[in-house]
Amino acid sequence: MIQTRGLTKDFVVSSSETVHAVRGIDLDIAPGELVAVLGPNGAGKSTTMRMLTTLVRPTSGSATVAGVDVVADPAAVRRNIGYVGQGNGAGHQQRAGDELTLQGRVYGLDRAAAQRRTAELLDALDLTALARRKVSDLSGGQRRRLDVALGLVHAPRLLFLDEPTTGLDPHNRANLWEHISRLRTEHDMTIVLTTHYLDEADTMAERVVVVDHGQIIADDTADGLKRTLAGDRVVLTVAVGGTASRVASIVEALPGARDVTIAGDRVEARVADAGAAVPELVLAASGAGAPLLEALAVRPTLDDVFLALTGRSLRDGADTTTTEEAAA
């Protein structure tokens, strides 16, 4: 469905400064996949999506979307994809229903078909009562659902979602994803999603592509990434002060344990299987006269994956707009 080879985008900021936003990305996405492109702001994920949706021209490399080259025939690409951008796609001065009908007309439906399609989508996304409401009068969650409806008017085989839930509260995020998941099942769509919400990528995507500094640094299922790159953690709190080093020694002796650290009464370490390690460690610590107050088995998150890959936390840069993003 999507194939890129050496896809690159440079932004010339001034005569002496060029921002290399995307640096030679190779990516293959098969029909039906739901792929999350994950990375901090400015990593190049939105610029990549903007090239794939013909919003910006690549500086070099190639990209084929739905079987069409994005540079050779961008209009054909646009006919075959749906796009939900970071902002609100519906004009604020327009009525919600009018924008949907217009979107249908834009994709070549006659007036009656566009109106039928509008009614279907409004119903499917719980927006029917708001059809005649001005977009500026809708809540953030309602506008976002309308954006998704706009992206689906022509039932595209491929849908791009650029940070679709940014700014929404957890309830609205869950609600929107419920709608998207259902519509995806009904339409057998391929979905490419960018996000910096780790839990969103973790729970929604079947495949996670991690991007940093304009390059793909990992590409696997969320579980696969966590298993191979991060590993489980154990967090042990000693009950008797001064016994943390004794517990650390016990942990270090555990096969496969690494990165053992002590912070006050707490000992942390990475282990192969935290669920199996915790009971073993509790018994061993108790037997060594260093009983534990608390022992936690922590499954890795995608942030742990990112940390393992880059030495930085994704959360650190979540709200930082970088030069790359400003240039884009």
């Binding site: 949706t53 013909t54 919003l55 910006v56 021209r57 209009a75 646009r78 006919r79 994809i81 796009y83 951008g85 970071q86 902002g87 609100n88 796609g89 519906a90 004009g91 604020h92 001065q93 327009q94 009525r95 009018d98 217009l102 979107q103 249908g104 007309r105 834009v106 994709y107 070549g108 439906l109 006659d110 078909a113 399609r117 279907e120 989508l121 119903d123 499917a124 996304l125 719980d126 954006d147 706009l150 689906l152 008017v153 022509h154 039932a155 595209p156 085989r157 609600n175 419920e178 259902r182 519509l183 009904e186 339409h187 400003a326």
Partner: protein, 272 residues
Amino acid sequence: MSTATIDAPTRTLTPVRRSWLSDVWLVMTRELRPVVREPFSVVFGLIQPLVFLGLFGPLLVGSVGETGGLSSTDVWQWFVPSILVMTTLFGTSTTGSNLQFEMQTGAHERLLVTPLSRSSQLVGRSLKEMVPLVAQAVILVLVMLPFGFRADPVGAPIGLAMLAVLGVGLGSLSYALAIAVRKQEWMFWAVQQTVLFPLLILSGMLLPLETGPHWMKVASAFDPLRWVVEAERALFAGDLTSSAVAAGWLAAVLTAVVGLAVGVRTLLRSTD
């Protein structure tokens, strides 16, 4: 929560490829819809010209004209056409801010990713400018008729058509400016204001240029508004064969052609 499913996906309907003209029509009607539903902006846009007519017009009595000034009746034949051009200028030169808002919210980006021809998106928006400006001009003319303003029944519609053509060009340039300065939004108003007032003053629409210094007369020759203002005065007076009318059409059409070309080019280059 609804559990409705979406029947008959359009993927099976084989959507029809649209023509460029139908794309332009779609964009134009989309832009017009809020104006028609809430004509407040059209009404609000009349306040300024009415203030000029009410407070500035009387000051011109006795000070305009080649032979010692015009009478209070004749001054409207000189000043009302000026105000029509001024209304066109103010209305269309600010319209780029609407596009700027849609660029901020994401609506412009959404349309860029649709099959709508990109040039039609600029042209459709610009053609929409004709409707509010002609509506405003008609209202102003009707308001001034009881005060002695005479609108030639043939010349007046031609004059309105010329304003519409001029408005398309000015609107296109305003959109082009909005796109060109999209990363520094404040620049839109800085440039618009900087260009607006020289164009206004050098057109001779508020005060006659005949009494100005030579350099101003030379500079005014490069201001398309000057030629349109003179043409509007001739047309509303019924002087349809005046050379000023031909010059006015030339200026209006050139503004429209240049405006549309610059606007379309700027839009297309914005995605490079």
